[in-house]
Structure formats: C-alpha cells, structure tokens
C-alpha cells in the first residue's frame, strides 16, 4: 500500500457552490474605497479597489498595489492582496496575486499565489476555513466553466474526520479523492493509531457519507482489508461511545442492566438488546429487540429470557389515522405468571389539534380480538377475549400559567366462555384530571386518578385485569433565581390513596408519600459544593407499617476529578439504632502521562458509635487512557446509596477546526505556517 506522499484531501464541495454563487456581500465584506486610491473596473473580471495603480501599455498589463481588494464579477468572491497584476488586457484577462485572501460564501481562503482568468482560478498553496471544515491544498484549481474543483496534496479536517489525499476533485456537494487516508482520531491520519487507507474515496460532506474503494483498516501495525466498497456515514463516525452501557435499571427491577443500543443494521432495520442481572432472587433478564420497517409498516420482535412478543403493524398512526396490528406474547418463567396471547387490534387515533396555549383534544379508539392463556394459582385459564376501548384527552388553554386537562378512558372486554365459571365481562372507566401551574419560580402539579371497574377479568394483572383506583398526587416546587452561581430547589411531594386498605383502620389517613427535599449547589473553595436535605414523613402520619420515614442529608464537594463528601440518614421512629448510615466518601484523581485513574471509597462510620469499625459501603475505580483517537474510559462504582455503575466507553471530542492544526508536520509534507492576517496582507505564508 503506498502512502500518499503529498497529501491531498477532500475539499468541501460547498466551495463550488460558494464560488458560483453570486453576491459579494454574502461572501465577505465589499471592497471599500481607499484614501487617495481609486477603483478599476475590468469588464469580465470585476471591480478592484486600489491604493496605487500603474498601467503598462507595452505589456498590455496593469499593476495594482498598496493594498488591493477585488470583487470578482458574478462569482461572489472577494480577493484581497497587497498587490495585483492584471495581464493580457486586450485578450483573455489574467489576474495574478501573491499572499492573497479570498472570501467566498461560507469560506475564507488564504493562498500564497493566485492566478485567475475567465475560466477559473488556481491557488497555491491554499488554506480554507469554513464553519464545518478547514482544509489546505498544495494546489487548488477552481474551474468556472465546468463548475468543478481540483486539488492536489490536500488535507481536510472536519468535526469528525481527518482526510488526507493526493488528488481530489469536487462537483456539487460530492468529493472524489484518490490515495486517501482517513481517521476519526483528532490528529493527522499518519499519526493516528487507527486509520483507513483507500485507493479512492467518494464523499458527501453534508451530511457526511463516505464510500471507500480499496480500503484497508490500519490499527498500529495491523492491517485488514475492508469490504469493497465500504461505506461509513456521519452517524457511525460521530459515535462518541461504545454502543453499550452498563447502568442500574432505572425502574429498580432488574438490578444492573447492560444495554446494547439499537443500531441501524441496514436501511429501515434496527437491532438492539439488553440484559439485566437481577438484584435479589430474579434470574438474569435478557431482552433482544429487533425492529424493521418500511413506509408505515413495521415489524417488532421483542425476545426476553422469559417471554417473547412479536408485533406486526401495518400502519403507524403517528399523526392520526387507522392502524392494524397483530401481536403475540409468550411469557413464562418460575417467578412470573405465564402468559400466551395472540391479539389482532384495530385502532384509530385522531389527529391532535395543534397549537400551543390553545385547547387541544385527542381521541383514541380501539377494538381487538385475542386468544389468551395464563396459568394462575387456580389453574390454567384459556379463552378468547373481545374488547373495545375509547379514550380522550382534553387540554384546556393555559390561562395565567395554569393549564388544566383531563383524560377520560373506558373499555370493556368480553370473555365468551370456557374461562373460569363462564361468560363474563370486565368494564372499566376512568377519569384523570390534572392541573399544571407555573408561576415564576413556582411549579405546581396536581393529578387525580379515579377508576371504576365492573366485573373482573378471569386473567391476572399481567394480562389484562384492572382494579379500582382513587388516588391523588401533588407536587410543589420552587426554584429561586440563581445568585452568584448558586442555585437551588425545594420540593414537596405527596400521594394520597383514598381507597380502603385492609391494613388500614377505617377513617385512617391514607398517605402513601409525603416528602420534602431541599437542594442547593454552587461554587465554593475553587470547586463546586452540593447540599441536599430530604425528609420522608409519611410514616409519621400514616399508621400503616412500611410507610417511609427518614431524615437524610448529604454534602459533596467536587473539583476536577476530586470528590469529597458525606451523607447521613436517620429514622426517628426506629426503636433501635436510628442512624441508618453516616457515610463519608472520597474520590481522588491521579494521572501519569496519557493514563488517569480515580479510586473511590465510601465508609459508613456509624458503626463506630457502637464500638465496631467502619464498614465499606461503596468502592470504585475509574480508568482513562487518552490518545488522539479519543479517551478510553473504564470504570465501576458500587455504592449502596447510588447503586452500581459500570463505565466502558470511548469518548471522542469534536475536532477543533483550527486551520493551524493542518500544519501538523508529517514525514513527507512541508511545514505550514498560518498566522493572523493584517489588512490586505494575507494570513498565510509557506515555508519550504
């Protein structure tokens, strides 16, 4: 594999559009008159503003000097230079300038030399700066007749990729290059530990999509031939982490869950899976989800360690309309009520009336037929189900920061026969009014759910049994304006269950939750200080057991990788040992060269009061290895209070689009110096 000696890169095809677009104002500031100077207009070339001019009739030429600004006629380009030579005035006019800057819509170019005529311009060497990319080329030719660009020895840097190529040409928004090296590492491909070398490259820059021909993946000294052709796009290049995560189940059911994020494996098809290692006695829970779709139809397959669900949907009522879906559920396991269910559902969803601030109505209708089986404590239940449901969401307009809404729903399911004691029905209806209010820093959300049920399903809740409900949720929070970097929030949350409870005496309070929390955080001691205090008070009011009662507080100071803090929790109703924990924790960063690590330790010192030693309640370690190809992060943290976290990822920072970085020395190339421009003197100079 030959190495592109004089690198060339993909030059943005946007440059073409820029050049051919009209309007100097869009390209850059128009040329302004110079004191004591004048203007020269050359038909077919443009208008030049100069400080000094000399025409030479013998050479059929003119020289402009002392600072020149040239607006190209019809191209939208504005050229600035210290001097400018115009030749062949009687024929095909030519323009020659050195140390130039060229402004094009979206691009700022500097070049050591520019030669232009009616057919195009050649810049050498050239540096381009744009919003989305920077590039440099030993020679850049702009062909105004064919509307194409050609470059030699080019290097292109975008937010996600470095590309070097020996030759490149451009047409529209596409780029073709030969002898190209590419890498997502933030360094020249020759210096990257991971890169791709290709005989030919075709690229679309917006959005980025690259097709490689004759590609070879190079990792250090290892080389693998890539499929021919091989395509990468913006999504795959921009992936900043490995495609899976390890984190506690947010629902708190499945313990630590490893999730492989859904990936697009081909057009319209996605694949993803996750696995949870159960906290408690539950077995590992593995889920695999496959999804494929075309147009409005889709097929979803969800497989889990204890169940399988398949659904075909022939229409997707994303914005309203009819849908037909067919689904299967196969669920089982020792700790779950096994379910086998096949359903065919016809649905209709009304298009919600749009508009913010105004009233809104959304309707849902559905009818289904299903054959289901479930094994319950009383034995196997098998039979058909026929059902229909209707729902409506009514949202009122927001008045004075208050927006009311109510959700109405009703449904009925008929179980013809063969299930339990004979034909039966389950009908239910619910009303769920809510109020959301925003008054400056204050926020109030109130909701009530009332559900009535007539009859009962012979199946369990896993399948379709519903129960009555009468409960109210209320949350109130205030978030005062931040002062001197400090911000905080105070929250009050409660839930009241109005239904009778077998464990609750008649007329007793049914307070499920009463919680008050205060949080504040801001700069302190050259770092950040976070404070939290929380009180769970339901147990003081509700006589039922297991109502939460605790007083807790935490303080944490962080700076860089440092993390120091303490937390405590106290149960005032506990008869024995009311201190649940008094924990101190710390994380201390260390770094050596490209390596960094940070151990974490949390100790519960409450046992000291009882004469015992401290107890380790949390530990962890974070490792990071930094290279130009990104930061590889590996770590874990186990803490009784915050759960388990495992980190394994590759963090890619967006490349800094600084044109000076293009000058990175390489074995075969020349060193480039790009500095600040001054007046009409361009910013770039080259060194041999």
């Amino acid at each position: 594999m030959r190495r592109p000696g004089r690198r060339a890169a993909l030059l943005p095809a946007l440059l073409l559009a820029a050049w051919t677009a009209s309007g100097a104002a869009a390209a850059g500031e128009a040329c302004l008159p110079m004191p004591g100077g004048g203007e020269l207009t050359v038909a077919g070339v443009g208008r030049a503003v100069f400080a000094s001019l000399v025409t030479d009739r013998a050479r059929d030429a003119a020289r402009l000097s002392g600072g020149v600004c040239l607006e190209f006629e019809g191209t939208g380009g504005v050229l600035r230079s210290g001097s400018l030579d115009i030749g062949d005035l009687g024929g095909a006019v030519t323009v020659v300038a050195t140390d130039v800057t060229l402004e094009l819509p979206g691009w700022h170019l500097t070049a050591g030399r520019l030669v232009a005529d009616a057919s195009g311009a050649t810049l050498s060497p050239a540096v381009m700066r744009g919003q989305e990319a920077v590039a440099r080329a030993a020679v850049l030719t702009i062909d105004l007749f064919t509307g194409g660009f050609a470059a030699e020895d080019v290097r292109l840097l975008t937010a996600s990729v470095w590309i070097d190529a020996a030759h490149a040409r451009f047409d529209g928004r596409r780029v073709w290059a030969t002898d190209a090296w590419l890498t997502t590492c933030d360094c020249p491909p020759a210096d990257a530990d991971v890169r791709v070398e290709a005989v030919a490259v075709e690229a679309e820059l917006t959005p980025l999509r690259i097709v490689l021909v004759g590609g070879v993946l190079v990792i250090g000294a290892w080389r693998w031939a890539l499929p021919d052709p091989w395509t990468v796009d913006e999504t795959s290049l921009a992936a900043s982490t490995l495609p899976f995560t390890v984190a506690p189940d947010p629902d708190g059911v499945r313990g630590t869950v490893v999730t492989f994020r859904e990936q697009t494996v081909s057009d319209g098809a996605r694949l993803g899976w996750d696995a949870g290692s159960g906290a408690g006695a539950r077995p590992p829970d593995l889920r695999v989800r496959l999804a494929a779709g075309a147009g409005g139809a889709s097929v979803d397959l969800l497989g889990a360690s204890d169940r399988l669900r398949v659904a075909w949907r022939v229409a997707r009522p994303a914005a309203g309309g009819w849908s037909v879906s067919f689904g299967q559920r196969l669920e089982g396991g020792a700790w779950r009520e096994p379910v086998r269910d096949v359903d065919l559902t016809l649905g209709w969803r009304g298009t919600p009336s749009p508009g913010s601030g105004a009233a809104r109505v959304a309707l849902d209708l559905g009818a289904f037929a299903a054959v289901s089986a479930q094994r319950l404590a009383g034995g196997e239940r098998v039979g058909a189900r026929l059902g229909a449901s209707a729902g409506a969401l009514l949202e009122g307009p927001e008045v004075g920061g208050v927006r009311p809404s109510v959700r109405l729903a009703a449904g009925v399911t008929l179980y013809p026969s063969g299930i339990g004691d004979g034909p039966t029905t389950q009908a239910w209806g619910s009303v769920a009014p809510t109020v959301a209010a925003r008054w400056g820093a204050w926020r109030l959300d109130a909701a009530h759910l009332a559900r009535w049920v007539v009859g009962a399903s012979p199946f369990g809740t896993t399948l379709d049994r519903v129960g009555p409900a009468q409960r109210t949720d209320l949350s109130l929070s205030v978030r005062p304006p931040a002062q001197r970097g400090w911000a905080g929030v105070a929250r009050l949350a409660l839930r009241y269950d109005w239904l009778a409870d077998s464990r609750r005496p008649a007329r007793a309070v049914g307070l499920e939750r009463l919680q008050v929390a205060l949080e504040a955080g801001g700069p302190a001691w050259a770092g950040r200080l976070d404070l939290r205090a929380e009180a769970a008070l339901a147990g003081w009011v509700d006589p039922r057991p297991d109502r939460p009662t605790s007083l807790a507080g935490a303080v944490a100071w962080t700076r860089g990788g440092w993390e120091l803090g303490a937390r405590t929790a106290f149960d005032p109703l506990a008869d024995v040992d009311p201190w649940r924990e008094v924990t101190v924790f710390a994380a201390v960063p260390f770094a050596t060269g490209a390596w960094a690590w940070r151990p974490y330790l949390a100790l519960d010192v409450a046992a000291w009061a009882r004469g015992a030693g401290p107890r380790v309640v949390g530990h962890g370690l974070d490792l990071a290895w930094t290279s130009c190809c990104g930061v590889v992060e590996l770590g874990y943290r186990v803490d009784g209070a915050t759960g388990t976290r495992v980190t394994l990822g590759l963090r890619l920072e967006p490349h800094d689009l600084d044109a000076a970085r293009l000058a990175a020395a390489d074995a075969s190339g020349s060193a480039w110096v790009v500095g600040a421009g001054h007046g009409n003197v361009p910013a770039m100079a080259s060194e041999p």
């Binding site: 008159p33 004191p35 004591g36 100077g37 004048g38 203007e39 020269l40 207009t41 050359v42 038909a43 077919g44 100069f50 400080a51 000094s52 001019l53 000399v54 025409t55 030479d56 009739r57 013998a58 059929d60 030429a61 003119a62 005035l89 009687g90 006019v93």
Partner: protein
C-alpha cells in the same frame, strides 16, 4: 457624454489609449494638446503681435485713445494670416501687443472649433484664459468644461470644472496638460474609460496619463502616483490668482 470611435489615423495620429492598440480610439486629450500647441504657436500670441492679424469689424469700432485699446463693440473677426486660425466674437477688445479680450467666442482652425463665453489673452504674460463655458468640437471629439487656461511660459494648460470628454471617455474635476511632454493629470473625482478598463477616483485622488506609443500606435499609460515635479507644477499654477479667478 458622446461616444465616438474614429480610427486612430483619422484623429491627427494621436488616439488616446491607455493600453492595448486594438482598443485605441480617437484621443480628445491628445488633440487638445495639439490644439493648445497650435494656439501657443499662433503668432498673435507670440512675438508678432496683433499686426499679424487680419481684423474685421462687424459694426462699430472704437479706439480708446487713453488706453490705446481697440474695441469692436458689435463684434468681429480676427484671422491669423499664417496659421489660418480664425476667431469670431460678439465683442472684441485688443491692445496691440498687449492683450486681447473677446466675448461670445468661436475659434475655428485645423484643430476644429472651440467655443467659449469669454477669452482673455495676456500677450505680455503669455497666458490665455477662456471662461463662461468652454467647448471644443471636431469630428469624434467633444470636450466641455467650465474654463480653460494655459500658461505659455510653463507650457501647461488646464481645464477646470466638470470636464467631460469622449474617446477615451473622461470626466474629471480638472484636467492639466503639459504641452511639451504630453503628460496629463486628471484631478478627482475622475472617471477614465478605455476599452475594458474603467478607472475612477474620488475627490482626493488623481491620475496621471503618460503618452506612449506601442507598435506605432500612440496612447496613454495611467498611474495613480503623480510625478513629483508635475504635481508641484500643477499645485503652483492652481494657486495663482489668475488661475483661481478663472474657476
């Protein structure tokens, strides 16, 4: 501005071109130099005096015995017997060998026709001043300005005030011409068009045109940097009272 394009040879061999022989056209500036040179060489303005002139009065002719001036109150004609230059005016006053003043003047000669509101010739000082609107006409040439004057001793002529000329198209606040060298100075705001080139400058700008001849075709080179001696000469003449009076 009237655009004309006679062949170079048809305009006394002095087309006014900056560059590019194929773009050369008749040069009104060059012709103006020729005209002024002709005027300068006219014996009446030189040593010969008015005696070389043929004077024809259209009507009353009055001789002021105190001053020695002869006044053709109803106008008349002055014709140089040598060059054939003819001045017809609605009013003429001349003092033999001293001065000639004429109003409503039309000058005809080989160089074409010059029209002026008034001409004052200082025969002793070697200065001519044409005011009240000056226009020079000949086939392919049409130059207008507010006033024209030249200093015989300095060999410099100036046209001042809204100068408009064709071929090459020139407009300027002032045009100065050095007869010996042919140097021309356009004082801004100016506009100079020649073929594909159009040069413009603001009130603080100036453009020097130098006569060149390429492949036998005369024309002009233009440059924004004015020769120091030329700039000094123009600055001196612009500051003289008689020049200022003509503006």
């Amino acid at each position: 501005m009237k655009a004309t394009a006679p062949s170079p040879s048809s305009v006394s061999g002095y087309p006014g071109c900056v560059v590019g022989p194929q773009r050369c056209r008749a040069g009104s500036l060059r012709l103006l130099v020729w005209l002024l040179a002709a005027l300068l060489a006219w014996p009446a303005w030189g040593q010969a005096g008015v005696a070389e002139l043929s004077v024809t009065a259209y009507g009353r002719q009055r001789l002021d015995l105190e001053t020695g001036r002869t006044v053709l109150e109803d106008g008349g004609e002055l014709v140089d017997r040598t060059s054939g230059v003819r001045i017809a005016a609605a009013w003429i006053a001349y003092l033999d060998g001293i001065e000639v003043v004429a109003r409503g003047v039309t000058l005809d000669g080989d160089v074409g026709r010059v029209e002026a509101g008034e001409i004052a010739v200082d025969l002793l000082g070697g200065r001519l001043q044409a005011t009240g609107g000056v226009r020079w006409l000949r086939p392919g040439v049409d130059v207008t300005g507010r006033s024209l004057w030249f200093d015989v001793g300095a060999g410099v002529a100036g046209l001042v005030g809204g100068i408009e000329a064709t071929a090459p198209e020139v407009s300027a606040a002032e045009v100065w011409i050095e007869l010996a060298s042919g140097r021309v100075l356009l004082v801004g705001p100016y506009r100079y068009a020649d073929g594909r080139l159009v040069l413009t400058g603001g009130a603080d700008a100036a453009l020097q045109l130098d006569v060149v001849e390429v492949a036998g075709v005369p024309g002009y080179d233009a440059r924004s940097a004015v020769d120091p001696d030329w700039a000094e000469t123009v600055a001196r003449l612009r500051g003289e009272p008689w020049a200022a009076a003509g503006e």
